[in-house]
Amino acid sequence: MNTLVPAIGFGIVTASILAVAGVGFTLQFGVTNILNLAYGDIMTAAAFVAYLVTGAGFSVWLALAAGAAFGSVFSILLNRFLYTPFVRRGTRLFGIIIVTIAVSLILQNSLLAVFGASFFSLQMPRPASVHIAGMVFTTVQLAIIGIAIVAMLLIHLLLRYTKLGKAMRATATDPELARNCGIATDRVIDLAWAISGALCGLAGVILVMNVTSFTDTTGAQFLIPIIAVAVLGGIGQPYGAMLGALVIGIASELAAAVISPDYKNVVAFVILVIVLLARPQGILSEIATRKEVAA
């Protein structure tokens, strides 16, 4: 018992990071229909932006904003100048996947070439510990949970109560029908890249806030639980991803506490396999059965 309760605490922190990253990943896929395997590396790049900002003596809050802004701008540019031209040129579905993984490698190795093969950490004031119901959090971890809750609330308000959110959901369900209804789908797609890019950048920074050190492959490694979250939630389903993040975050930290920390990602992987075998459309599936999964 005394190892399980703190593990749930860690699980909530991991779930918070996963929720931000997973919602961004799944939103982007749902609206734009491009599986962006460079997502993890954009997270790493945002973490390096934050590293530079804190290294220059600015606060972590500014680093968070800078990371999110970088993710957003980079994603828009990537889509505008690389992915969309390839799609327009008629590159087929698996051609686009190769394009995104090429971008992933280029980005990861550019970071390696610029920053070198070494371990990095953000400069932050030493956090204090807070005890809540048997769980121990650092103030940084509490901030991460807070950031995730605010981000998820904003996404919820955006999707449910704004015209843009409605247009996004419509584009995700059926882009052609949405266009015929007078929705400027190109603009909606641009905005989807901007929003998911911001979430990606934010996730990259909070991911490295929570660990002692990071390298050029940190984001790429984090792609395992992100993909598990996205598939568990039903790909293209932001609410599913939120739920998936909670399940995988807590399950993987419990496994880390009970078995061994090496099993964190293995748990995410096992959940992924079970979902693929039993319910490939994900736990929350409104449109997934028809559109996303059917081959």
Binding site: L35, L37, T91, L93, G95, A102, I106, V266, F269, L276
Partner: protein
């Protein structure tokens, strides 16, 4: 030719043979059947590991390396076993990854398989000796034939060439048979193939397993040649080199893919051996990966069908009315 050059050239030839085989295997999966197998390198690694432990002999307690199994099998058996293991692993991975899902789902799952396999291999020391991997794998036939080191090198080149021929024969009969035609049809239009009563999932699985077998064999030859194996040399970016080779050479065309293997993993990565090192350690490697990535993008943009494109297959019209619209089975657009 000096002995040093002979050594170098024979080594490069063995690498070329391994890469060509691997590219044929990947081409069967990706070029012919449209399977985006980002975990390809894992099947190669599994085959290599199998061949290594079956040559090393039983692991001794307290020895400097731990591994599963272990036997002293005579020469061709470890390589055959590697093929079997590659195929079995493909059955296992395919059982959850190859279902009637979107192709990008599949690619994503394969990438996760590749990442997770590396992390398990590195963390579970008892399984494959952790990050250190295996070393001192005895060379096949080395004790039986009495050859100078350089003579042995050329013998190995011969063995590799022979196995290459067998693999070519396999991929050739698959791609030129009705089976190959069905696989291409599934790649180009899955719904249509299913509507014609083809077992889409089963046939894709078959291509996946055959590719896995070839990957296993190619890995086995590599490990028997270099006598060492470690998880760190089988990371997912290595798969991308093969993908780039297949795309550059001409995906779907066995001959093109061979040229691709000659151009990308061999010519391109070997050439950097002669470039003077500059910058901090790891800088040249990073640049290499960046250039491979850019190469893939450039080819997908300008020559998406590769140096030697897949042949457009035309079938003779059977009736008068069909004569005006010849049927083609290959992709028409880019």
């Amino acid at each position: 030719m000096s002995v040093a050059w002979q050594f170098y050239i024979s080594t490069v030839l063995v690498y070329l043979g391994v890469d060509v085989m691997a590219c044929w295997g990947l081409n069967l999966q990706f070029g012919v059947a449209g399977l985006v197998n980002f975990a390809f390198i894992i099947f190669q690694a599994a085959g290599a590991y199998t061949a290594a432990v079956l040559t090393l002999g039983p692991a001794t307690k307290g020895g400097f390396q731990q591994y599963l199994g272990g036997a002293h099998w005579p020469f061709p058996l470890p390589i055959l076993a590697a093929g079997v293991v590659g195929g079995l692993l493909a059955v296992l991975v395919g059982s959850f990854a190859i279902r009637r899902l979107r192709r990008d789902y599949e690619a994503m799952v394969m990438l996760v398989v590749s990442l997770i396999a590396t992390s398990i291999a590195t963390n579970q020391v008892g399984l494959v000796n952790g990050p250190n991997g295996l070393a001192l794998v005895p060379k096949p036939l080395a004790t039986m034939v009495n050859l100078s080191p350089i003579g042995y090198q050329w013998l190995f080149v011969g063995i590799t060439a022979l196995i290459c021929l067998c693999v070519y024969w396999l991929v050739h009969i698959v791609t030129s048979s009705p089976l190959g035609r069905t696989l291409r049809a599934i790649r180009d239009n899955e719904q249509a193939a299913a509507a014609l009563g083809k077992n889409v999932t089963g046939l894709r699985m078959l291509a996946f397993v055959l590719g896995g077998v070839i990957a296993g064999v190619s890995g086995a030859i590599l490990v028997e040649f270099i006598s060492a194996w470690s998880p760190g040399s089988w990371l997912y970016p290595e798969t991308f080199v093969y993908f780039t080779a297949v795309i550059v050479g001409g995906s779907g065309n066995n001959l093109g893919v061979m040229v691709g293997a000659l151009l990308v993993p061999v010519a391109f990565l070997e050439a950097t051996r002669f470039v003077p090192q500059f910058g901090p350690p790891g800088f040249i490697d990073a640049l290499q990966w960046i250039i491979v990535g850019v190469l893939a993008l450039v080819f997908l943009w300008f020559w998406p069908r590769g140096v030697i494109p897949e042949r457009r297959r035309r079938f003779p019209p059977t009736t008068q009315s069909e004569a005006r619209q010849p049927l083609t089975s290959t992709r028409t657009g880019r």
